[in-house]
Each structure stands twice: as C-alpha cells, then as structure tokens.
C-alpha cells in the first residue's frame, strides 16, 4: 500500500472544499476519526482569494494561507512555512477543490463520476485520489452549497457545514 501524506492531501482538499462557498464564509467542520471512533468539531472563516485560500480557525487562534502553491501556517502570530515535500500531490488535490469551487460539471466529470439529484451532487473519484477518497457529497439548498462531506477510504468522515457569508 502506498503511504502518502494523507494529512496534506486531505487538508488541501478541505481547503478547496470550503473555498467553494465563495468569498468569505463561516464554517463548521466535524471530523469523525475512525481510528479513535471519536468526533471533533472546529469552527472558522475561509476566504477564497486569487491563487489560493485563507483560513482562520477563530476558536484556535490559528490560520492557514495557501497562495501560489505555498502553504503557510500561523500559530500565535508566528508564521511557520510548511515544507513542500508533497507539493506535487497537494496541487493535484488543489485542482479538485478548485473544480468544486467552480462547480463546472464538465470539468468535474474529467476527474469524477458525477451523480446528482435535486439536493445533492455525489462525486466518485476516477484519478489517483480514489486511493484515499471514496466519495465527495455536496449538498445544496436553493442553489447554494450548504455542506461538503468527504468520505475517506480509511473510514474517516469530514463534514463541512457552511453557515453564512461574512463578506
């Protein structure tokens, strides 16, 4: 089994998923951890900017900037530049999340099998990410995206609920 840096992959995927909610949003993220059989909730704001994303975890005083393929992590106002060891794979996933943000179905169909009904869009990966992500479920309300669910192969489940636009 190929060991990949799942953290980075999924973290990027998370960034992208949230980026689809437009310019700047408040979000709540619920992570179910299969290994521990426990869930955890995080809250914050996400801004979708040119060439990247900015995320603030308001409750943790931590933020992440992902611009021009460089990921920066700020904790207690100290910037920590994260290494680019897996930059190649991150960029691949960055594509997916941009795709999700754009919600361009034609482009989505290049990387996913797309199944849709009135409220949901179910994406099954066709490319390498199928090794890590089983499915992505997007839920809409009145044509606005309300939640994204990442169903992972290791049994973990990440649900991101979007509450409101803040700018």
């Amino acid at each position: 089994m190929v060991k990949l840096n799942m953290y980075k992959i999924l973290f990027t995927l998370f960034i992208f998923s949230t980026s689809m909610f437009a310019q700047s949003f408040h979000f709540q993220e619920i992570r179910y951890n299969n290994a521990l059989d426990k869930s955890k909730t995080l809250e914050g704001n996400i801004s979708f900017v040119k060439n990247g994303l900015l995320i603030d975890y308001t409750d943790k005083k931590q933020s992440l900037h992902y611009i021009n393929a460089i990921l920066e992590y700020t904790k207690d106002e100290k910037i920590i530049t994260l290494d680019e060891k897996n930059a190649q794979r991150i960029k691949e996933y960055f594509d997916i999340l941009i795709l999700l943000h754009d919600a361009d179905e034609k482009k989505l169909e290049e990387d996913f099998i797309v199944e849709k009904d009135a409220q949901t869009l179910l994406l099954t990966p066709k490319t390498i990410i199928k090794n890590f992500i089983k499915k992505i479920k997007l839920t809409k309300e009145k044509n606005e995206l309300k939640s994204v669910q990442l169903i992972l192969n290791n049994g973990d489940l990440i649900t991101i609920n979007i509450s409101n636009e803040i700018s």
Binding site: M1, K3, Y7, L36, Q88, F94, I128
Partner: protein, 675 residues
C-alpha cells in the same frame, strides 16, 4: 575548345546527379570542433535526446493555469515527434500503480527492531496529533512509519508558474524536423498568451532564419559590388559569364571531391570553402590586365608561383587535426586548383575580348621602404602576441538571439531543481541500474538483484511479533481494537522480482540507447562538474584548436617564406610584406577592439591566401601600374565575397567581414605606399 568551359560545368553537373546518393553534407557542428574521443560521447548524448526536450511554462498558479497545462498536455501528446509530456502537476497513473505494487520493495525500510516502548511512543504521538487543527490521517497499514519512499527528482517550478517538459525525437542538428515541430508547437501555444516555451533546437530554427535573411542581404550586396566591377569597370559581359561558370564549376568540383573524401563533410566548411574560391578571381584579373589571353604564353610565371604558394599553404593546413580547418583547406586546395587550371588553360580558347587600356590616374605618394614595413609588421606581431585575448566560447559566434536567450534565462530561474545530464553506460540493464543508483538517481528503478536483496530483508523481519505488540499498545492508548488488523500485511505479501526491462526505463522517462551490447542512458545529477557539458567540451576543444592553429601557422609561414624566396628571390621581404603587414595590422586592430574568436583566425588564413598572390605579382611585376590595377579589381572582388560580411548581424560572419575588410584595405595601402 570554345565550349570547354560549358562542357566542364555540364560534366560536373551530370557527375553530381549520378553521385547524389553518395554525397553527404553533415550539419553536425559539434563534429567540427570536438575532439574525436568526445565526439562519440556527443553522438551518444544526441541519440539519448540530450537536447531534445521542449520546456513550456504556464504563467501563474491559478486554476486557469492548471487547465492550460492539461489542455497543452493533451495536444502535445498527439504529436508524432513527442515521446512524453511530463508536467509539474502529478506523476502518471501508470507510475502511481507501479509505486503501489512495488511499494515495500521500493521504500527505504527501517529494519531496526521495534521495542514495546518505541511502539507505544509512536502510537501515542500519532494519537495526540488527532486533536490538532490539522487533519492527520493514520496510515493503518504502516502506523509506525517504517517504510519511506525515496524522494524523486521531479520537475519543480519556481516563481513563474507550472512547467511542462516535452520529450521529443528532434535534435538541434535536424533542421527540417526541428522547423516542422517548432511551427506545430508554436501554433498550439498561440492561443495561450501566458505560455512561453524553450527548446535548444529553437535556436537552430530561429537562428537559421535570421542567418538566411542576413545571407540574402549579403548576397544582394555582394552581387551589386561584383556587377559594379564587371559592368562599370571592365564592361565585359562574356568575361563575367565565363568567370561565374568557372567559379561554379570549381565549387562543384571541390564539393563533389570533398564529400567523397571526407566521411562527414560539414556544411560550414562548404560555405567557407565556397567563399574562399572567389580568391581565384585574382588569377583571372592578372591574366586579363596583362593580356595573357591574347599572348602566346602557355603559363604566366607569377600566377603559377602565386597559385603554388597558396596551394601549398592550404595543402599543409589540410593535414591539421582540426576538422573545420582541414576540410576548408582541402576544399580550397581543390577549388583553387580547378579554377587555376581553367583560367590558365581553358580561358585562352574562349575568345574573350582583350582588355582595353584606359587612362588611369597614377597616385603619386611618398614610398615607404619594404624593410620599414617588415619591421613595423614584426613590431605589431610582437605587441599583439602579448596583448591578444582569445574568446573560446563557440556560442558567441552564433546569431545573438536575445529574445530566445531571455526566455531560456526565465526557465533557468524558474526551475529550482538544477540537474545536469551525465551519460551512464553498462553492458547490461541490471548493471546500468546499479550505476544509476551509485549516482543517487532513479531510485524507483529496481534491479532484480536489489529487489531480491530487499525481499530477503523483509522476509527475515518478524512482522508477526510486531503486529501483536502493535495491537496491544494501540488498545492500551485508546485506538479502536480492530483498526490495525491489516497492518504490515503488505510487507508480507511481496511481488515477484523481475529483471529490468526497456519498458521500465520508458516508464520513468529515461532515455535508453544500445550500441554494440552496451547500454547507455542519461542520468540527471546535481553536480555540474561531473555532468556532460557540450559547452565545456567545445570550450576545451577550442583552446586546443587555437594551440594547434598557432603551431601549424608557424610551419605554414615557414614554408611560404621558402616558396617566396624561390619565387621572388631577393624581393622576398617585399612579397612577404603582403602577408605580414595586412595580417599584423589587422591582428593589432582586432586585439585592440576586443577578444579574438575562431572566425578571426580563419579569416587571417584567407588573408594569407590573398596576400601571397599579390606579393608575388607585385614583386615580380615589370608593369606595376597594370599589376596594381589587377590587384585593385581583385581586392574589390574579394571584398564582394568577404568584405560585405561586415554588414552581417551574425558574429561569425561579421568577424570574417571585419578581418578581411581590414586586411584588404591594408593590402591596398601597401600597393600604394611600399617601394
């Protein structure tokens, strides 16, 4: 006999038609400059596609840039000349599958024995990370992180944007194929304003176009000067026609003979040789102005001496171990000999109207002694010997394509992963892989021997005990009891080790070439000193060429002095000045202007060839005014052939033009000033 000139040309054209299958003109410039032992290396490098890649950069990192990368990849993969397209986005699916299958054998395995304590600590650290803001997935198959894939040499990108590397079958020496691919790639990239591309063969295409334009201009200029000489000054169309036929026949004869004699006769040698052929016009002019064609003489002694001395000089240079000079000299020897024979033995039968004497103003000037000119020339040579600087960079001779150089620089700055090619060879693929690994490259290529060795290590490792301890500690910390049930199973179900194949090399985009049971590939290494560098090979070769050229020039000048003594006897200092003075003053001026390149030196050799004839004519002339007139017209025709190159924007041609123009000017001065 009066049709003999036409018959000769026709015979040569017919020969060319029948011999066309055997005539090979090489366009490989490296073969002219590189020493023999390095030539093979360069040939192999070319076969391995050393300079065949196209680099394409898509500006920016936004999604539209990625879309462009995908679109371009698809388009480029359709091209027949493209073997692979590698982007900085992701490895291919085929590669990913390969990594997955051979993961335990490709990975660096930490086979130190894991204690209960170390297992507990690792699992505890992993458990703690689950509560940070970062989502850290747990690898249930290898929670202790015992397996690590070695890092690859991927195509990295700098600040510019995404980069694509397109491997092609086209090299810099294939002008036709390079032009076709250049056109297709440019048309694919045209709709994308934010995309730039570069390939070494772009220089071949763009520079050859610029050179073509330049040469066209020069041909026009040259033709204008020649027409001026013949129509305005000589007013003799028949002479012009026969002269052009003779020059054409001489070049054709030399081309046919040279391409049959030399295994790889180069196009550059051909071009130079053809230009030098124009020097033979001075035989004709000397005959014409001295009424040789209307006299009963069979041979004109001065022209014969001039020809023999020039022929001896080029004959000697044809033995030099510098392919370019050897080829040019041989070609010149053949073409000048042919032209001399035609001008001497055929032209008297062509009924060319005799030269009509015209009144010419005699320039009365203060005459300078030959000994003074000789001393001055020697002084200039000695001064130049101490101040001379040599330019050993062959690339400086080319057309300076500033736009492309700028693009190339952008790629150099953009690609932060600086790797340099090195040829690796072995008598089997297995050994080749071993050599690649010893250079710390291509870690994902697995030889059968290495594969079996790793397999043995993994087979002998006690994974079962490890799993038991892992279960126990995971449960104690608080993990789900069944979560690590399948841990390390992948390390106990190993794939079969197979011998390395050609396909394995292809999979990783590694070029492979086999010749006489030896396999060659190009490894990318980070040490430029150990890498293959055509620039440094050519630089070293050029240094050696300068040395050899100097040595040979001494021998040739020695022989010329002896021949001049025989030809002009006591007046040999006077005749020698026609070589020493123009060469000495030109060298002095050139060294004053900057460093001297290879083309300056070639031009000085041509200047020697021109100077020898004039020296002999002037030294032995009883009709100095006529001889001087013949020389002046001859100088003009030489200027038409070489001097106009001074208007070229290509350094190599400009250097020749400048050197010859200066030399011709100082020969002219000499005809007026020296007594």
């Amino acid at each position: 006999m009066k049709y003999l000139n036409y018959i000769l040309l026709l015979a040569l054209l017919v020969s060319a038609f029948f011999l066309k299958e055997h005539l090979h003109i090489s366009t490989n410039l490296a073969s002219l400059f590189a020493p023999k032992e390095k030539l093979q290396e360069l040939n192999i490098a070319n076969k391995l596609g050393y300079s065949n890649d196209i680099l394409i950069a898509v500006k920016g990192f936004e999604y539209s840039a990625k879309t462009t990368v995908r679109e371009l990849t698809k388009e480029l993969q359709k091209l027949e000349q493209v073997t692979s397209v590698q982007s900085s986005l992701a490895p291919s699916l085929e590669l990913q599958l390969y990594f997955k299958t051979f993961y335990p054998l490709l990975s660096d395995f930490n086979h130190t024995k894991q204690t209960q304590l170390s297992i507990h600590q690792t699992l505890q650290e992993l458990y703690d990370t689950q509560f940070s803001i970062f989502y850290t997935p747990i690898n249930a198959n290898d929670p202790l992180g015992l397996f690590k894939l070695p890092s690859t040499q991927k195509l990295k990108q700098g600040s510019y944007g995404y980069i694509l590397r397109v491997k092609t079958t086209v090299s810099t020496s294939q002008i036709l194929e390079a032009t076709q691919l250049y056109e297709v790639v440019k048309s694919i990239l045209k709709p994308y304003p934010n995309v730039i591309s570069f390939a070494p063969f772009y220089y071949t295409v763009e520079n050859s176009r610029a050179i073509k334009k330049d040469v066209q201009l020069i041909i026009v200029l040259s033709t204008v000067v020649l027409l001026f000489i013949y129509f305005i000054l000589l007013k003799n169309i028949k002479l012009l026609l026969h002269t052009l036929i003779t020059l054409g026949s001489s070049m054709l004869f030399a081309t046919l003979t040279s391409t049959l004699l030399f295994k790889e006769f180069n196009i550059l040698s051909l071009a130079f040789g053809m230009s030098i052929t124009a020097v033979s016009i001075d035989y004709l002019l000397h005959y014409y102005f001295h009424h040789f064609y209307s006299s009963s003489k069979r041979v004109e002694k001065n022209v014969l001496y001039g020809f023999l001395t020039t022929a001896t000089a080029f004959g000697l240079f044809s033995f030099i171990e510098i392919p370019l000079i050897a080829q040019i000299s041989s070609f010149t020897l053949l073409s000048l000999s042919f032209a001399y024979l035609v001008f001497t033995f055929v032209f008297p039968h062509l009924n060319i109207p005799a030269y009509q004497e015209q009144k010419h103003q005699t320039l009365t000037t203060q005459k300078i002694s030959a000994y003074f000119v000789f001393s001055l020339s020697l002084g200039l040579f000695i001064y130049t010997a101490f101040t001379l600087k040599l330019d050993t960079n062959i690339r400086h001779l080319d057309y300076q394509n500033l736009n492309l150089q700028k693009v190339e620089q952008t790629f150099k700055e953009s690609n932060t992963n600086r790797l340099y090619p090195k040829i690796v060879q072995a008598n089997s693929l297995e050994t080749l892989v071993f050599h690649l690994h010893s250079l710390n490259t291509s870690p994902f290529l697995l030889s059968q021997k290495e594969c079996n060795e790793k397999k043995n290590i993994l087979k002998n490792y006690d994974f079962l005990t490890l799993k038991q301890t892992l279960h126990l500690e995971a449960k104690n910390i608080g993990y789900k009891p069944t979560y690590f049930d399948n841990a390390y199973d992948f390390a106990m179900e190993l794939p079969e080790c197979k011998a390395v194949t050609v396909d394995d090399f292809k999979r990783f985009g590694l070029s492979l070439y086999q010749e006489k049971n030896i396999y060659y590939t190009l490894a990318l290494i980070d040490n430029p000193d150990k890498a293959l560098s055509i620039t440094s090979i050519l630089k070293n070769a050029t240094k050696d060429m300068y040395k050899e050229l100097m040595q040979f020039s001494f021998y040739v000048v020695g022989i010329i002095i002896i021949l001049l003594i025989i030809s002009v006897k006591r007046k040999f200092i006077y005749a020698l000045n026609y070589i020493l003075f123009p060469v000495g003053v030109t060298l002095f001026i050139l060294s004053f202007l900057g460093s001297l390149n290879l083309m300056h030196f070639f031009s000085l050799i041509i200047l020697i060839a021109i100077g020898i004839d004039y020296g002999i004519y002037m030294a032995n002339s009883h009709q100095k005014q006529r001889t001087s007139l013949a020389i002046n017209y001859s100088l003009l025709s030489s200027f038409a052939a070489f001097g106009v190159l001074v208007f070229s924007s290509i350094t190599a041609l400009y250097s020749i033009g400048l050197t010859i123009s200066l030399g011709l000017f100082f020969i002219f001065i000499l005809t007026k000033l020296m007594k």
